[in-house]
Amino acid sequence: MTRILLSSVAAAAVLVSAQGAVAQTEIQWWHAMGGNLGEVVNDLAAGFNKSQSEYKVNPVYKGSYTETLTAAIAAFRAKQAPHIVQVFEVGTANMMAAKGAVYPVYQLMADAKEPFDPKSYIGPVYGYYSTTDGKLLSMPFNSSTPVLYWNKELLSKAGLDPNKPPKTWPELGEMAKKAVAAGAKCGFTPQWQTWTMIENYGAWHNLPYATKQNGFGGTDIELKFNDAPRVKFIQMLADWSKDKTFVYGGREGKSTALFTAGDCAFHIASSATASAIDKALGSDKFGMAMMPYSPDVAPKPQNSIIGGATLWVLQGRPAAEYKGVAKFLNYLASTPVQAKWHQETGYVPVTLAAAEVTAKDGFYKKFPGREIAVEELTLNPPTDNSKGLRIGNFVQIRDIVDSELENVWSGKKDAKTALDDAVKAGNEQLKRFEAANK
């Protein structure tokens, strides 16, 4: 008798737990974080899944940003969209314009009646992805900003103080020249040149990239990055390339190889590249500081803008599932999770609280330089020129800029012609975007 009772209780227990398992809603999250970044992503999802039993987030690594976006588009068109997809920041304008496909975050939070406080987010991080009246469209996830790295050994070899980075561009030029004279293969090389040398140079010096607040105010805009300061800056770099004070290392992140190989004295790169550089050079062999500025353009730097990617929520799933999505997004933005993400990856935390907690934990003392990114972003309240960029067909425009800059580095064009041509071709792209999204 007891045995039958016990086994029926056991059976009932199994049934009940099976029921619970069946009722768990799965949330698909497609992302482009590979390697060690992907491991942290998996940890974040696992943490959420453990903290509650109603929803289960399933992170799927879908390749590069391009491949992930293509997969999401294909899936959406076939009515099989994932709930959350990670899209690079240059896709923001295009994503925004995708009528009926995107579920804006502010609306999601309101519909799901989940708490949401815009003020807790770091200004430029939040601002890049919201409308002009402050409504958040996509969830900032992995943002970074360019910082200055330098190779301490190469500086010592040139007779310079290895712990004193240049504050201005003229200073950097001098130091780089000295490093090359002392045997370095290259003085300075930039990563993601469009982002660091054109877009961020503009924001850092409070110069506009495009009209209508860099595109936040509408789609009938024109590009403005061929202004005199930037022409002068690019021409200076071109002149530097003659004696290897400046070396072009390739598009996107290719030039980092020059720095990690120990060939270059200075490198301007994403703050998220810190862990890779650390692995290659060793933490005591390199330094991190704020980007230099040009004193003849601005008396002091303004603030930098972000790069990276965000999480967009896609339409097309049953309504009930979106509550889980909202809960997950809030989980991701919670202080301990953001602190963990920031510390383990080098991306900027999206909330002020997470940055403060990290500082209080002594993390920045242990890894000096990691707080630089946050400092750059919060240096000053953002102006119209430094809130971020909202440019349609931005991928093509960046390619055009890349290509024209390469014409300068290879000596085919001078800086003024190249930038003017880039603006001309870029404006064509903007017109197409406007036409496609009227």
């Binding site: 391009t66 896709g91 390469e406």
Partner: protein, 293 residues
């Protein structure tokens, strides 16, 4: 090309082509139709907000200087890849065919490149020629050649051609070798007995008998140089520096996938498709006449 002797059956031929036709209809024509239809639309990537713009996308291309630059580049590129690829692999196949000892090992080694996935191959070549850490770049610098494919457009094009040809050599080699192996020994022996030296034997017997395979490879290589070289460009130069390696198929992918301009990308692929069909048609019409079946 026609056979003089054929079979006469009513239903059998249709039955035989049916499996391929069905799969082709469902998995090629249907999706391709949709893809081509996009060339007359402007829409956002997700499909909402779709507008019919008739030939606007095409007109925009014809007014675009960089598109024509890409066309010229692609012609040069394809010519180089196809001719170098075919010539080198034919040479290797003929030499390998003569060799009896070590033949299996040679064949295995020469087919390895094809086994390397294009994405990985691009990465490998980037490694070797990387201006900073690359072995070959280093060796070139040793003999005084300043190699930097990141700023020098011609060097970039050379590198991409080398990588593309490398990937394709094994493919061509394999088929040339198969073709050579199926030429009856008796024919060659007969010619030798008649006093023909290796050179004569090659041009008068082997080459003509190899021509069906050669024609096949010519068509396939041209198609490959237009379409299949995308992976190599993407891994090595992404179309740069400047526009030096921005071949047409790469533009298609770049505009469609990264840029999400599906309408423009479709229009480009329609044009590409027409060009390649025309090229192939020309080959069938004029070159196939000289093929010896």
């Amino acid at each position: 090309m026609e056979k003089r002797v054929t079979f006469h059956e009513r239903w059998l031929p249709y039955l035989l082509v049916a499996p391929q036709m069905i799969i082709t209809l469902v998995f090629f024509f249907w999706p391709s139709g949709q893809a081509i239809y996009q060339s007359v639309l402007i829409e956002d990537a997700f499909g909402g907000n779709s507008k019919f713009v008739f030939l606007d996308n095409f007109i925009h291309l014809f007014n675009d200087d960089s598109y024509f630059a890409s066309v010229r580049l692609t012609v040069v590129f394809s010519f180089l890849v196809a001719t170098i690829g075919l010539a080198v692999s034919l040479l290797l196949a003929v030499m390998a065919d003569r060799v009896i000892r070590g033949a299996t090992a040679y064949k295995a080694f020469l087919v390895w490149p094809y086994a390397v996935a294009p994405a990985v191959a691009g990465v490998l070549w980037g490694f070797l020629f990387n201006p900073s850490v690359g072995i070959v770049a280093w060796m070139l610098q040793g003999i005084g050649i300043e190699f930097n494919y990141v700023t020098n457009g011609n060097q970039a094009l050379t590198l991409v051609v080398i990588a593309a040809v490398w990937n394709q050599i094994s493919y061509n080699f394999l088929f040339f070798l198969a073709g050579l192996q199926s030429i009856p020994k008796s024919l060659i022996e007969a010619a030798a007995i008649d006093g023909a030296g290796p050179g004569r034997r090659f041009w008068d017997i082997i080459f003509p008998l190899l021509s069906p395979t050669g024609f096949f490879l010519l068509v396939i290589n041209i198609i490959y140089s237009f379409f299949g070289t995308f992976g190599v460009v993407d891994a090595l130069t992404k179309g740069g520096p400047g526009q030096a390696t921005n071949i047409l198929v790469y533009k298609v992918y770049n505009d469609g996938f990264r840029g999400q301009d599906l309408g423009g990308s479709s229009a480009q692929s329609v044009i590409l498709m027409i060009v390649v069909i025309a090229l192939t048609f020309v080959q069938f019409r004029f070159i196939e006449r000289r093929v010896h079946y």
